[in-house]
Subunit: 184 residues, 2 copies
DNA sequence: GGTCCCATGTAACAAGTTACATGATTCC
DNA sequence: GGAATCATGTAACTTGTTACATGGGACC
């Protein structure tokens, strides 16, 4: 569901090609939702079949031609239905592959568990760096669309990202300290 | 992958029926991995087909008969292969449906966004309560299995749960404060 | 008689992953 | 000639969801 509605949400801001949408999922939004290129094109087919979006071919001389998608009235209704739906059951269906691994790490060596956690810390730190680099992209994107007030909500997700990954690092460091105590 | 290996991990501790495994996924481990009953039974079929687990029928007079699963040597090899695999690409493929909704909440009213966040806070608080109630289940489960040193790793996941959900509440409250500023 | 716990699934479908496949234009 | 960016997908497969389906035993 979220991918479908994220695409509708993007097309509600501006007309985009599959490539544009894919690029967006590879940048800012990637911190909250990861999606494959192939899945985006597949989902665009589904959305078209459901009459939530439509597309026109745009012929370009300097670049390959592209299919420009736009949201339909039906699509807007569906987007708002989803946004207004305050049911959070789906949201609470949490899945964390790292935690499953840690849970069973008693079968692994302490040193190997520590290495995994250290790798995780590095990845989280890298994401925080990437987010810092992406902060100005918000204003860039905002300049392209009509709605000028969006950045307020986008900043809430940005703040989430920083708080989340910092908290992950904090936890992983706590674990490493505890593991070190065990060795000595 | 994680479900498959979580089941292998559980069967590595003790022989279990599909029902036992399901109950486990509905309790403690639910904070890190949510799974449907139907999916567990399906996955047990896959694991059997791959010779990672085997089962025997246990006839019970006071209760319905059951299929008791045990891990094979092949299954143990696969479990350790997965545990030792330090590749964290899959782990970093993050997906957060709430954040997607917040990202597009500019199309919604501020009051509706606040209500969603308040609901989320309540759900997180409820989970923290449930986790507190489940803390003693660790020692219960530990008493049932051979390995006595596991609780150390389980406490790392428990600590994660508390830190994670407290951080979620902190962020959501920050958002609500910011939204309130907007109204006044 | 009703509810709860125990116990095991199937079928249809939706969502997500991996690998493959192609080809244009631009800039160095 | 090669790398980077633009551009769009398909096929096979795995994973996860939703709805359905059944039935025994215990306890009140």
């Amino acid at each position: 569901m979220p991918l479908k509605h994220a695409i509708l949400g993007l097309l509600n801001y501006a007309d985009m090609s599959g490539y544009d949408i894919d690029r967006f999922f590879k940048s800012s939004i990637a911190f909250y939702w990861h999606a494959q290129t192939s899945q985006i094109y597949k989902e665009l087919n589904n959305l078209t079949a459901n009459h939530y979006v439509e597309s026109d071919i745009v012929y370009q001389s300097d670049k390959p031609n592209k299919k420009l998608f736009h949201i339909t009235d039906e699509g807007k209704v569906e987007l708002h239905r989803w946004l207004a739906d305050a049911n959070i059951d789906d949201i609470m269906k949490y899945k964390n592959p790292l935690l499953i691994k840690i849970f069973f790490s008693g079968n692994l060596g302490i040193d190997q568990t520590m290495r995994l956690l250290e790798k995780y810390i590095q990845s989280c730190a890298q994401i925080i760096e990437d987010m810092n680099a992406d902060i100005n992209k918000i204003s860039e994107f905002e300049a392209q669309i009509e709605q000028k007030d969006e950045s307020f909500f986008w900043s809430m997700t940005m703040t989430y990202g920083f708080m989340y990954y910092q908290n992950e690092i904090k936890w992983a460091n706590w674990c490493i300290d505890k593991l070190k105590e065990r060795i000595s």
